[in-house]
């Protein structure tokens, strides 16, 4: 593959934010046609920044970009896409009220003034058959699942003629099935000679699909090597990659100390919940979570997990049965950008989002600003959050660091029930280790409801696992080593 000329080269790219944060430091990157190039690195290593520069969202402070050997300068995403570079972001950028076709048409050139949507729908069909991307052009974005939204984002980029497709953590929000489907699409594109840059924290995926790997560390290239140069055995290969990324060995094998169980902190009995369309999303399930245990909810997304958590946290009415929570709830929501944080507010302001009424942070009328600052600093230190200060807007944090901020806030609350939805989404392997330890630590004074799409996470942490399928739950009690297959089958309703 290295014999062909690179379609794209980045040379000595440096990006400095607000005069001090060196997000990228003399980075070089070569991408060849027909290559799937994995870009790895710790949270805050500069992956998203580098790709934002490549796709015209940011301008590099230093360095050059070459396409087919010719220097190019992108002043806007539009110019990048005109040159064949398109990016699907870590956080999607679709207009929820519009239809699929409308979203795809937005900003597309060369459309006639009247009836542009007909043309779009025609072209869409073409793509759908070519890449097996089934999607309904007339559907509105808000009605779509995350996986479907991602498809729309990908089509949006492809239809503009991208030859280099950038995917920023595309799989962290997908179910295993959807990941398989995505990979099939990527392989088709690769066969057509397109280049794909793929950011992920999941090392298994890297080994499965990538041809070449570049690892960033603290803004610099720490390693750049063909995937074939990595150890053949999966476990060894993962360890090797993790070492290169984090600079130390990562042991994702948590020791679970025994904790005595206390009273039930969550009691769910014959619970019945309706979804937005009025049909039964949760059909009479019962379980309880006791202080000191971790109860996992696993299942393919859309089998009632969302409404269940909404009902427990009081954001959705229950239509039958009962749900009793003893004490306070700490809640790590899956939607970290719209729900778990307010990106335009500062880190300090976000650090008290769920606790600002606490007497440590506010009196009757006023906030206690000094103690809030102290608190935010404490969280940053405790969870090793990479931030230039507590008064910078949270939106400047990298995806994983924002997740750490939310985790830090909710884990330090002393709640009696902790609900953690996909707690390690978007975290690098090093921080996953730390978060797992913190969750186990929480058992001392709380019961934990862990909602995870990652079965291996649930198997590693939980004492009991409830598999949700079509609004019903089947409960398995650990140890799970001889039940893994059964759990897997239950997840698909068998």
């Amino acid at each position: 593959m290295k014999n062909s000329n690179p379609i794209l080269s980045m040379r000595n790219i440096t990006k400095i934010f607000s005069g001090k944060v060196r997000a990228n430091d003399a980075v070089n990157l070569d991408v060849h046609p027909g290559e799937i190039h994995a870009l790895l690195g710790e949270n805050g290593a500069g992956k998203t920044t580098l790709m934002n520069i490549l796709s015209g969202y940011y301008r590099a402070d230093e360095g050059e970009i070459f396409m087919h050997g010719k220097p190019v300068l992108f002043k806007s995403p539009r110019q990048a896409i005109e040159n064949g570079i398109g990016m699907v972001h870590q956080h999607f950028m679709l207009v929820p009220q519009h239809t699929v076709a409308e979203n795809i048409a937005l900003g597309l050139k060369g459309l006639p003034f009247v009836f542009p949507l007909r043309i779009i729908e025609g072209r869409l069909r073409e793509f759908v058959s070519k890449y097996d991307l089934s999607i309904e052009p007339g559907a509105r974005i808000w009605q779509l699942s995350v996986g479907e939204r991602q498809k729309v984002e990908i089509i949006k980029v492809l239809i503009r003629g991208a030859r280099v497709l950038i995917l920023d953590e595309p799989t962290s929000v997908l179910t295993p099935e959807e990941i398989d489907r995505l990979f099939r699409i990527l392989k088709k594109m690769k066969a057509e000679g397109k280049a794909i840059i793929f950011i992920t924290h999941k090392l298994g995926e890297v080994l499965e699909i990538s041809d070449y790997i570049t690892i960033l560390r603290k803004g610099r290239v720490a390693a750049s090597l063909p995937s074939s140069a990595i150890a053949q055995k999966e476990e060894k290969a993962k360890a090797e990659l993790a070492l290169k990324m984090v600079g130390r060995e990562v042991i994702l094998d948590v020791k679970k100390k025994h904790v005595n169980l206390g009273d039930a902190v969550l009691e769910v009995k014959d619970l019945l919940i309706l979804n937005d369309r009025g049909s039964e999303a949760v059909k009479g399930i019962s379980f309880s979570v006791r202080r000191g245990e971790i109860f996992g909810i696993v299942g393919v997304a859309g089998n009632g997990q969302g409404p269940l958590v909404e009902a427990i946290t009081g954001h959705r009415p229950i239509s039958g049965g009962g749900c009793t929570v003893t004490g306070e709830i700490g809640y790590i929501p899956e939607d970290r950008l719209n729900m778990g944080s307010v990106p335009d507010l500062t880190i300090a302001e976000n650090s008290i989002l769920t606790q600002y009424r606490n007497s440590c942070f506010s009196g009757h009328l006023f906030l206690n600003l000094p103690s809030i600052q102290e608190w935010a600093k404490k969280l940053i230190a405790m969870f090793n959050i990479m931030a230039s200060g507590v008064n910078t807007p949270a939106k400047q944090l990298s995806g994983g660091n924002l997740q750490r901020l939310i985790l830090a806030r909710e884990l330090s609350r002393n709640s009696s029930l902790l609900i953690a939805e996909q707690p390690t989404h978007g975290l690098d392997v090093g921080s996953i280790e730390y978060v797992w330890k913190s969750i186990l630590e929480q058992r001392k004074n709380a019961g934990i409801l862990l909602v995870s799409g990652d079965l291996s996470e649930a198997l590693a942490l939980c004492d009991r696992i409830g598999v949700m399928y079509h609004g019903k739950v089947t409960i398995f009690t650990g140890p799970f080593s001889n039940k893994i297959e059964k759990i897997g089958l239950k997840m698909i309703g068998m």
Partner: protein, 357 residues
């Protein structure tokens, strides 16, 4: 070379905002100049005349300040409300209710003289706050759009005032005019020198601006406002009640408008008269005061002065050149139009590119 207009993702800097605003004022003046020419008036002479009679004269300046008082009170309150996406266009009615309540205190209450002025402000505040509070109840209970209710309540307030001045409150000493009786001296606000600046209201307005600044930067309420204004979903997650927040905000904003109404009757008119004379659309213009200031209450001081200047300049033109009042309205409309246009323009940039690019 070709060029293209594209969206500028960056938030415009203060310098950009300022220069765009100044530029839009110039453009508006140019267009208005054309209208003057059509009336056979030399625009250059007209502008020098207007400037010398407004910014260039003590009386003109004092009038600008006096008209900025109600604009500041209403504008600063609205700034708070608009951050919660509650579209209150009812400041006009809240002003009138404040004026009405203050009139009642001045004419029909039995407060001792030294308490009269504080009471009159207090009543103005309460009346405005109640008028602002009702639409929030209607929205939270019955989901009725606040745009409709606040607007309708302006008319209700207007007709209540009309009814009172034509009926039960019609002055005995006013020889058939639709006024109330004159306020007693103890209910008249002190003025600065021989201007019409009723300084107690001005001071209240400045205190309000400071208070709103403090609310937004360090009060719990301000924190709640910021969270729900950025993301309603995060607000629910944090357990913030949207309506509770809006209740308080509308009480503050309605109360502030009520204070403005009280100030107008007790400081300027010393009686209750036709609503259009009491308010002259301050409640609507204040929407622009709040909007131009974006989210910074301190800036409302500048935007209120700007709007007051436009008002006074309009009056001057009408008096000096005998232009019909409609032309003055068209001119103020043009200025506002260009200001709003510039606001939109700031969000775009022009990118030049060579043909081969």
């Amino acid at each position: 070379m070709g060029f293209r207009i594209e969206k500028n993702p960056a938030v415009p800097s203060r310098m950009v905002v300022f220069s765009f605003s100044v530029l839009s004022l110039f453009l508006a003046s140019a267009v208005i100049g054309i209208i003057f020419l059509a009336y056979g008036i030399n625009p250059i002479r007209a502008y020098t005349d207007v400037l010398s009679k407004t910014l260039g004269s003590f009386y003109g300046l004092s009038e600008i300040i006096r008209k900025s008082i109600p604009l500041l009170l209403c504008g600063a309150g609205l700034l708070l409300v608009f951050r919660t996406s509650f579209w209150n266009i009812g400041a006009e009615g809240q002003i009138l209710m404040g004026a009405l309540a203050a009139t009642w205190a001045a004419l029909f209450s039995n407060f001792p003289d030294f308490l009269l002025i504080p009471c009159l402000f207090l009543f103005g505040f309460i009346a405005g706050a109640v008028w602002g509070f009702i639409p929030t109840v209607l929205k939270s209970r019955f989901r009725i759009s606040e745009v409709i209710t606040t607007l309708m309540m302006n008319y209700i307030a207007l007709y209540i005032v009309l009814f009172l001045i034509h009926g039960p409150w019609k002055g005995k000493t006013m020889r058939g005019f639709a006024y109330t009786d004159k306020f007693p001296a103890s209910a008249s606000l002190p003025l600065i020198g021989n201007t019409r600046i009723h300084w107690p209201t001005l001071i209240i307005a400045l205190i309000l601006v400071a208070a709103i600044y403090i609310i937004l930067t360090r009060a719990k309420l301000g924190y709640e406002i910021k969270v729900i204004s950025q993301s309603p979903k995060a607000g629910r997650y944090a357990g913030i009640s949207y309506f509770k927040t809006v209740f308080w905000v509308m009480i503050i904003s309605g109360g502030a408008a009520g204070l403005a109404g009280a100030g107008e009757v007790a400081g300027i008119h010393h009686l209750l008269r036709h609503p259009n004379q009491i308010s002259m659309g301050y409640g609507y213009t204040a929407i622009l005061v709040a909007w131009l200031a974006r989210s910074n209450p301190v800036i409302t001081i500048m935007t209120a002065l700007l709007m007051a200047f436009i008002f006074v300049a309009g009056d001057t033109i009408q008096l000096s050149f005998g232009l019909p009042s409609q032309i003055v309205n068209v001119s103020t409309g043009l200025i506002l139009f260009f200001l709003i246009l510039s606001e939109g323009m700031m969000r775009y940039r022009i990118s030049w590119k060579s043909k081969e690019g």
